[in-house]
């Protein structure tokens, strides 16, 4: 033991000293290596890593602008923004997506549809580190539960976002349109910078047409975030420019009245202020709740809406293409007078039918027994078909078409109404090209009373009626009345493109208006029951469009035909006749007759617009001044 302990030769000590020196050098070399590595990272590559470090912590976030609001002409809010709390997921920050979703559905109720949509969006191309919404419109209890469990869900956040809300949606869905989630096609189209923080885009109507103005300009902020993406502080911020607030010509009261009058029926109403072209009411009945579409409609709700026999999603006012029937006669009368095909004194014998030649096909007057000798005024008032057959054949298709075109048929003549269809304005060339047949005189006969190939939308009928009310002065229909910002409204409205419709004898306008007054106020006018007892003069024209055609001499019993095969009831008109403040087109699908179903609707709108509403306003003003007086 002693030997072992003291076995301590000088040789062993020197050996160890040499080895220790080697180790010292070894340590020095490696430590210098570490120091060199530090020098490389901290001095040589310092810039690179500073950039990396800043990129880590500083992120640029877009701040979406609040979407512009939409008001009616009396500044009643039609479209606003409401905070909605949604659950969003940043996939890059979630470790195990399936497990996270499973645990989330333990504490929240996530609809299968939401889950499906989420998984779909997960597979779609998207910006990295962008939050994908999973569930919308969380209630307070769900928000509280998420707050408690938040630490278990990295990458999952409750986010407040402003979402479009339409407080009068059932009334305004067709007039305003709606916004919805940006889809893949739209993603290709939009400016990725300006829409960086935006999830919604106008899908139809005003929302679509004025998308640019309503959207505003995106803002951004530099924020410092931690590794989990939580924002710690805002370093720099450029505020977004909110979208423009729009004021429409639309009057919610009239819009509501229109819907009330059409309650339980199908059809459309357009009311236009002739002087301004402002659309006062745009109703397509039945309507629907556009709010359902904003965050994404459920499959069941959509199926119910889209498969309903009443077609609530179909915008009849803009996209319903109907035979205008006798409501085309005022425009035909203008065409016939101006083209010289007839004059105010010309009389035609009506035996109850019209034949192009002896023994040929009989085109019947609606009054089978015939009206005898008729002139233009009488034919308008009684809606005599035979007079228009004869005049129509005299004019021929090209003259009729060219005049109707100047009334805005066969085109979308609106300024800012999105999605309006053009109807069908037939010409001889059109028939040859599409039907591969020549234009027969019989086609002109049908066209002269608004049947046959001619198709028009309620919007077109209202536009043409307003043109008559304006005595040929074109003011294209529009919804936008004003913007609430500093910019003038002209900056947002497209240019007018239509020129004034000038007649050889401008007095013809007054004459045609006279004949339309005769419809409403004449002893034998078809609209006389609707015009009875009015304190003002109105001009109008009824129309009854066949839904299916009858062979000649066929009789039919209205009762036996199913409700949906009954004739469409139409009416166009304006009031007061000498100083028009409102022009309307009304169509009641399968309403039976224009005079029975459509004209009374128009009369009620005239009364409301010309008497009821101004009286209410006067009362409000008086009571306001009374209250003001009482305060003093």
């Amino acid at each position: 033991m002693v030997w072992g302990e003291l076995k301590n030769t000088a040789a062993e000590r020197r050996l160890f000293q040499r080895r220790a020196m080697v180790m010292l050098v070894f340590v020095l070399v490696l430590m210098t290596g570490l120091l060199a590595r530090m020098y490389q990272l901290q001095i040589v590559e310092h810039e690179i890593y500073t950039t990396l470090s800043d990129k880590n912590r500083v992120q640029v976030q877009s701040v979406p602008p609040p979407r512009g609001l939409v008001y009616d002409r009396n500044n009643i809010l039609l479209a606003e923004n409401r905070p909605v709390f949604s659950l969003t997921v940043v996939p890059e920050r979630v470790g195990d997506m399936d497990a996270t979703l499973a645990r989330l559905s333990d504490i929240l109720s996530i609809a299968d549809e939401d889950l499906e949509r989420f998984e779909r969006r997960l597979r779609e191309p998207r910006r990295p580190f962008q939050a994908i919404p999973l569930s919308y419109d969380l209630d307070e209890a769900e928000i509280a539960r998420m707050a408690v469990h938040r630490h278990q869900f990295p990458g999952v956040e409750v986010e407040a976002e402003l979402v479009r809300y339409y407080p009068h949606s059932e009334l305004t869905a067709h007039a305003l349109g709606f916004v919805g989630r940006i889809n893949r096609d739209e993603l290709q189209r939009i400016d990725p910078v300006n829409y960086a923080g935006t999830n919604y885009i106008g899908k139809s109507g005003i929302e679509r047409f004025y998308e640019e103005a309503l959207h505003g300009q995106v803002g951004y902020q530099h924020v410092e975030t931690n590794a989990r993406g939580r924002i710690l502080r805002v370093l720099e911020r450029v505020n977004p420019v909110p979208g423009e607030d729009l004021q429409l010509h639309l009057d919610l009261r009239l819009q509501r009245r229109a819907h009330e009058l059409m309650e339980g029926r199908r059809g459309a109403i357009i009311a236009i202020e002739p002087k301004t072209g402002g659309i006062l009411a745009l109703a397509s009945v039945p309507g629907f709740d556009a709010n359902k579409f904003v965050t994404g409609i459920s499959v069941n709700d959509y199926r119910e809406l889209s498969q309903s026999i009443d077609k609530p999603l179909f915008n009849r006012a803009l996209r319903g293409q109907y035979p205008p029937a006798s409501t085309i006669k005022p425009m035909m009368a203008v065409a016939a007078l101006d083209s010289g095909a007839t004059n105010r004194d010309r009389r035609i014998w009506d035996p109850g039918y019209f034949q192009l030649r002896e023994g040929g096909r009989r085109f019947r007057n609606w009054n089978r027994s015939g009206d005898g000798w008729v002139d233009l005024k009488y034919s308008m008032a009684r809606s005599n078909d035979v007079y228009f057959y004869e005049v129509g054949v005299d004019m021929g298709v090209d003259v009729m078409s060219s005049y109707l075109a100047r009334f805005g048929f066969g085109e979308d003549a609106t300024l800012d109404v999105s999605g309006a269809l053009t109807g069908l304005l037939p010409t001889a060339d059109w028939k040859r090209a599409v039907k591969n047949e020549p234009w027969y005189p019989g086609d002109s006969v049908n066209m002269s009373i608004g049947q046959g190939f001619l198709l028009a939308t309620p919007m077109q009928l209202a536009t043409a009626t307003a043109l008559i009310a304006n005595r040929g002065l074109w003011v294209e229909p529009r919804l936008l009345k004003d913007v609430h910002g500093d910019s003038p409204v002209e900056e947002f409205l497209p240019e007018q493109t239509h020129e004034q419709l000038e007649l050889n004898d401008p007095d013809d306008w007054e004459y045609v208006v006279d004949t339309m007054e005769e419809v409403m106020h004449g002893a034998r006018g078809t609209g006389r029951s609707a015009g009875r007892g009015a304190s003002y003069r109105m001009a109008g024209k009824t129309g009854t469009a066949q839904v299916f055609s009858l062979g000649q001499d066929e009789e039919y019993d209205e009762e036996q035909i199913k409700e949906r095969l009954r004739d469409h009831a139409l009416f166009v008109g304006f009031a007061p006749a000498d100083d028009p403040k409102i022009a309307v087109a009304v169509i009641v699908e399968n309403g039976g007759s224009g005079s029975g179903a459509a004209a009374p609707v128009a009369r009620a709108l005239f009364d409301a617009w010309l008497e009821e509403f101004p009286a209410q306003e006067a009362e409000t003003v008086i009571s306001d001044s009374r209250t003001a007086g009482g305060d003093n």
């Binding site: 302990e5 301590n8 062993e12 000293q17 080895r19 180790m23 570490l34 310092h46 500073t50 470090s53």
Partner: protein
């Protein structure tokens, strides 16, 4: 240099002319001073690395207190005690390692702890960091040095046996440190350079074999990640990218204490444990790293001095091996954090948060002080 003065004054007391208070306490004031400096600075860095959590600093302070007590106790023991007990402790350690594999507890898929009733939980592998060099030194110092080839082989078996058992846990970091501790004993004993060259050649040949037959999937992944961190920037490469970013963005003077964005914004993982040196580099820059490495180097220098001046071969071999183990800690940790070496679980000695490694390290310094201060009055 002030240091050399301290050294010479200390060496004069070594000759025993006037036994100071330090000698009576069996402490080395130079080493103790350097350690206290390191530990004190380390707590400041830890406060930042733990994101201003003072509780973490307090807990570490208590652990370090315990570790210093352990060091003091070990310093009081005569090196002869270590030598006498080395074989028995070694046997006990092997039993412990086998027990860990059979009934051990642990986390993250590795069994490292032994929870015996009535005893605090402990890691036999940690214990072996001290015992393996002692056992190897005990065995080799029984004979004339340098050892003969059969003695070397026996010495290597003594080292490789516990190393193999620790790898099974699996704990690559600790097995590496235990193995290195033993191999340094063999090196210091004077194994011939030809043999060293032969071993190195064998290792380089067997490395590919290790890759295919021994290394586990996660270990291979770490090596691959080291070679190309960008291949999986959000997964395995994250740690390396973020720690390099922390170090590099520190620059010359650093971002300032508590100002490191990488650690405080949680981009840097393990910022108060294995990756704490990145916090130091980020907040104190190249200057801070220079100071840290200098401090470590001074400690190593002092320990090598203690080793060289030890009275017998056992003391020299144990002291030298423990010193070099300490260095391996430093090199592996900083090399790993700065992206030079694969990620292995080796803490930064006496700075990373964690009690076990601190206690083991301070016990080793206790052994060094014991070797330095227990001297027999004989002339060499």
């Amino acid at each position: 240099m002030a240091g050399s003065k301290l050294w010479s004054s200390q060496s004069s007391s070594d000759l025993g002319r006037n036994r100071s208070v330090w000698s009576a306490l069996h402490l080395d004031p130079v080493l103790l001073g350097l350690l206290l400096l390191l530990v004190g600075g380390g707590l400041f860095v830890l406060y930042s690395g733990a994101d201003r959590n003072i509780d973490v600093v307090k807990a570490q302070g208590i652990r370090l207190g315990v570790a210093f007590v352990v060091m003091f106790v070990f310093a009081q023991l005569d090196p002869a005690v270590f030598r006498r007990w080395a074989p028995w402790l070694y046997g006990l350690g092997l039993i412990g390692l086998v027990a860990v594999l059979l009934v051990g507890v642990g986390a993250k898929g590795a069994q490292r702890w032994l929870a015996l009733p009535g005893l605090p939980r402990f890691q036999p592998s940690e214990f072996m960091k001290l015992v393996v060099p002692m056992m190897a030194a005990w065995y080799l110092s029984r004979y004339y040095l340098p050892p003969t080839f059969p003695k070397v082989m026996t010495g290597l078996v003594i080292v490789l046996l516990p190393m193999f058992l620790i790898i099974q846990q699996p704990d690559l970091g600790t097995s590496l440190l235990v193995g290195m501790a033993g191999i340094f004993v063999v090196f210091f004993a004077g194994i011939s350079w030809k043999l060293i060259a032969a071993f190195l050649a064998m290792v380089s040949v067997s490395a590919p074999l290790m890759w295919f037959f021994v290394m586990r999937e996660y270990q291979k992944q770490r090596v691959l990640t080291l070679l190309d961190p960008q291949s999986d920037p959000l997964g395995a490469g994250w740690n390396i990218i973020q720690s390099k970013t922390a170090i590099g963005s520190g620059g010359m003077e650093g971002k300032g204490w508590l100002q490191g964005t990488q650690s405080h914004l949680e981009f840097l993982p393990e910022s108060h444990t294995d990756f704490i040196v990145a916090v130091l580099a980020e907040e104190f820059g190249f200057v801070g790293m220079l100071l840290l490495l200098t401090l470590y180097f001074l400690i190593i220098l002092r320990c090598l001095y203690i080793s060289v001046t030890a009275q017998d071969s056992f003391g020299r071999l144990v002291a030298g091996a423990l010193t070099m183990t300490f260095f391996i800690y430093i090199f592996v940790n900083i090399g790993m954090v700065s992206g030079l070496l694969p990620v292995v679980g080796v803490p930064l000695p006496l700075i990373s948060y964690g009690g076990t490694s601190s206690v083991t390290l301070m016990a080793a310094f206790g052994v060094l002080m014991s070797i330095h201060t227990h001297r027999r009055m004989i002339t060499a």
